[in-house]
Amino acid sequence: MLSTAAGTASQDAMSIWEYANPKKFMQTSAWALPWVTGLAVVTLVTGLVWGFFFTPDDYRQGATVKIIYIHVPSAMMAINAWAMMLVTSMIWLVRRHHVSVLAAKAAAPIGVTMTLIALFTGAIWGQPMWGTWWAWDPRLTSFLILFLFYLGYIALWEAVEDPDTAADLTSVLCLVGSVFALLSRYAVLFWNQGLHQGASLSLDAEEHVADTYAWPLWVSMAGFVLLFVTLVLIRTRTEIRARRLRALEARERMA
């Protein structure tokens, strides 16, 4: 019985690594992309239109509460994109699968855009609510450092000529930067000071945003996740093609 279970688990584990094959990844992503893209557009538009047009003003924050539908999902994706990059970078370091590290490379520009959106919408929301665009608050500061790590990660890929060396170095940088991705998420809990509040949505928190705001926020968050998946698939396909192009050009030069 146990050996059967172990055998099934082993087969399942094997099936995950099939996607490390660039050809298999290209085939599967070509099939999945139209569906994921369609779903991303529908959920994103539904979440944002619902939140913007069909939710009431907050009794304290007024209409600025509508910023929650872009600020929270973008901040969530800024952290989760780095988490995804960490996992795929670790897979590269341990198993040397190129598709994995190319997916991490593909995710970085999406992550930096999400971080920028979170920082900008936070600042523009903070000004009327806190009376300041910026404060050296633990969460804000760790987010700024995460933004700088994203820039460093992208710059390092461009700076190193050998792709495998670049993959190694960026993977290590990703591991180090994960400290700040983690701090961005939990800074409010680690240091009970600063202006930023805790989680807006939490299944175990005693107090969070009212359902009127929470439901469109969940939809908007799903939209941002699907947008991220769509863009990662598109950009990873581009990176795989770029790698193949480099290989063919090198083969042509050698001939």
């Binding site: 009327p128 863009l231 093609r241």
Partner: protein, 51 residues
């Protein structure tokens, strides 16, 4: 149109910049993807012709 009151500039500014950044990212991703696809196809065709 939704009445955003005195926070109209704040809310519309936040949404406007977000939408611009996302559309810019999508456009860049699609443009780079199309360019790489074209270059790879041309290279494969050339190498196929030359054996």
């Amino acid at each position: 149109m939704v009445d955003l009151g005195k926070y109209a500039g704040t809310v519309l500014g936040a949404y406007g910049v977000t939408i611009l950044l996302i559309l810019g990212l999508v456009w860049l991703s699609l443009r780079k993807g199309a360019e790489m696809r074209r270059r790879l196809e041309a290279q494969e065709k050339r190498m196929g012709r030359n054996g």
